[in-house]
Assembly symmetry: C2
Homo-oligomer: 470 residues x 2
């Protein structure tokens, strides 16, 4: 008898599978205001671990955390022309507060370049103050016409970094450090998502930037997800807000700047990059619970054995929890653990226990192996390392198989129906890009032939990665 | 020659001293929208450490983190009568978004009881789902007429916990666990602030609560600061939003609830509870940098010795940083470290070093002792423990000396000019409370004679703590 699937199969309807996972794994709910979301504890635990890992890496580059206000005077947005053009259609505006109409309307930040630059203008005085490296964990609001939980929400959580440098080179280097040492390293080594890192075309650039660098992940339906961006802002905002410093030689110069961010959108990337028809698959390095010790049913010594095993695993450095809710059927709890993507389940039941065994179920390869109790800690730590790598390698193979080498934009559009295309940028160009856009196909990024990130969009021999995207 | 003080002395003008510290120690700036604040890295590092310590304690009680949206439909606020009455005057309202007028205005959350209850109504089905313990780290907005950085800002950062329980007793017990195990424990043992924990009078209760428990700290000017509250909500919100569950006996019952929060206001409490005329004094357990190794001036082996010392201290578990910016005068850097309240400075200079010594300057007792290099690690770890305790004991002695035992509300008002009064609640009552309020003096909390927290405001023999407050 085939069991009824809990989730719509991916092959049948991927978007519906995505909604099913979010609901059945209790990751999030839609909020009452259109496009907002409630992140439930299971979903938030993913985000919390992401924050910790990203935050550690950001601090390692020398940046410090700070907090910049939610509310921005509307006039600030107008100081940088491209910026206001990009963000105006998405703004939420507070017109009344404290029971009165405000003299000047206030916008809820869609991003904080404008307001933080009004402070940089005060904080940055001398070349000795540079580089000034500030990061902010916060919520931002962009009114979305077609919201989708985690991927495109009216309010989302993120970090936004803002930096000032004495030279263009220093700003450029720092934008790349963030791209590689923070975002790429985190996504590849923790999220197990082999993102492509490259340069955006002028068309896809952040509003107000001179250059946008990006991490693009391939989802299991072949679409791309922009998972993080790092921008060079040149002196655009510095000039708009008067961020000037006394140089070592005594002159006054405008600062060179960067900004960069990753958001709760990464949770969507995690779901769609690794999830399967049984639910989420969480990479062990990310998982807040790496191993769940489950009491299958009550029996002599079962609860004690489970807690003892958990203590051993904890001592071995494994993030572990115990599920001894035996008033809920075991099958339901096991399905729930699968749905939530917990990397390893250790099923402790009376019958196996009598023989000195437990069952070790690994979510990522989908195996289930009877294991002697004394061997569990070693088996679990080995499995966590193996499965982290397996998940990454599987995603990498999928990306490689899902990427077609093509020569024309017609072929590129065709390839984008199921995956990505690699195509010489010279065969696309801004005109080809506009044509592809009519079919909702975009240039995700530009790379050099050797896969490295170009210094400019005008270099010879660049390759464009083309696909549909979220 | 007396040196010009960097800060206005506390005795001269306490509020101005407070503003001076915030500005000179680079803790925060006022935002462009009235009442908002920018928290600068030095200030944010304090908040980050507070978050970590409070978060660990919240999780230890079994609660999980989640995220509930910033935007609440205006109609939600109206579902609980006292709640809307309390918060309406402080709301910020979004009327336009995405370039259009909204059909229903949206309020920026002043607190999240209403919106989270609309979800509890869905998540809570059976007694098996209870207790449901959810915490949210976020920003909230309350339009303030008389804003003051950290203490009373239009936007502030906080955590708000929301819980559902099967019984009134369980809710009551949990509200007390949060009060004692999370807030009191954190404030006393980490912030070194000996807060009084007690029960609010009906007049001072949270809008919509049946009981509010509070932690009250005494600031160095004798005023009180409410530093954290834990509320029993009874079934008020559960009834307004239909949060019902199937009980074990099969009946349908409304959940019993709590909510509780601490905010960036604690940063203000830290400043005013411990700061002196030289700046902040940060308790060692809170400090993100507990020991700052300073290169006094360049010289043979000085930089190396400083870094070696820092590595040793780090290995001994001390949070340590090195200041080797010898292009800035040492005196200025030392004053800055004092202003920022770094518990210990280790001053490494060429002359002392030649004799195998460094100078160990302790911010809290204000001592400076030449110390043999080999003895530094031991001296520092001992000093951190001692100074944590000294700061607490000093604050406790100040609170005790600053609290007068009185019998009439006239005396209570008089005592409140410089500190607190302890007075039998029977000598005050709701009428006396209203009279005191005319002089801006309030009942901070009610206690039993033995100092414990009363179960009810109607118990015999209660003592009222009376004072002015922030």
């Amino acid at each position: 008898m085939a069991k009824t699937p809990v989730l719509t199969p991916q092959a049948e309807d991927f978007p519906r599978w995505y909604q099913d996972v979010i609901s059945k794994a209790e990751l999030a709910d839609n909020g009452p205001v259109r496009g907002t979301m409630v992140i439930r504890p299971t979903g938030y635990a993913l985000w919390e671990r992401m924050q910790r890992e990203v935050d550690d890496r950001i601090k390692a580059t020398g940046a410090e955390n700070a907090y910049v206000p939610l509310f921005i005077p509307e006039s600030y947005l107008h100081k940088e022309a491209q910026h206001v053009e990009g963000f105006s259609p998405e703004l939420a505006v507070v017109t009344h507060a404290g029971g009165k109409k405000l003299e000047e309307p206030v916008v809820v930040r869609p991003t904080s370049e404008t307001i933080i630059n009004s402070f940089f203008a005060k904080w940055v005085q001398s070349y000795r103050d540079l580089p000034m490296l500030v990061n902010n964990w916060s919520n931002v609001v962009r009114w979305e016409l077609r919201p989708r939980v985690f991927l495109r929400t009216t309010e989302f959580l993120w970090q936004e970094g803002h930096t000032c440098h004495a030279t263009e080179d220093d700003a450029r280097d720092y934008a790349r450090r963030i791209l590689h040492e923070v975002y790429e390293d985190f996504m590849v080594s923790v999220l197990a998502l082999p993102v492509l890192v490259g340069r955006k075309t002028a068309r896809e650039r952040f509003a107000g930037a001179t250059n946008t660098l990006t991490c693009e992940g391939m989802m299991r339906d072949g679409k791309a997800l922009q998972m993080g961006t790092s921008h060079e802002l040149g002196q655009n905002f510095a000039k708009a807000f008067g961020v000037q410093f006394s140089a070592a030689d005594g002159g006054r110069e405008f600062a060179w700047q960067t900004s960069w961010g990753v958001s709760t959108r990464m949770v969507g990337g995690l779901i769609m990059g690794h999830g399967d028809d049984n639910g989420l698959r969480v990479p062990p390095r990310l998982a807040s619970v790496q191993a769940l010790v489950m009491v299958v049913k009550d029996g002599e010594g079962v609860g004690e054995a489970a807690h003892k095993l958990a203590a051993e695993l904890g001592a071995a450095g494994v993030r572990v929890a115990v599920d001894d809710r035996t008033d809920t059927p075991f099958g339901r709890r096991a399905v729930d653990a699968e749905l939530k993507g917990i990397p390893i389940r250790i099923e402790v039941g009376p019958r196996d226990l009598a023989e000195g065994n437990v069952n070790l179920a690994r979510r990522i390869p989908g195996t289930k192996t009877p294991t002697a109790i004394g061997a569990v800690a070693t088996a679990v730590t080995a499995a966590l390392t193996e499965d982290q790598k397996a998940l990454h390698d599987e995603a990498l193979a999928r990306r490689e198989q899902g990427t077609a080498e093509v020569a024309s934009i017609g072929e590129a559009a065709e390839a984008a129906a199921t995956g990505w295309a690699r195509i010489p940028w010279s065969a696309v160009g801004p005109d080809g890009e506009a044509k592809l856009a009519e079919q909702a196909v975009t240039v995700r990024c530009l790379l050099r032939a050797d896969g490295s990130v170009p210094e400019s969009g005008d270099e010879d021999g660049l390759v464009a990665i083309v696909g549909r995207s979220y």
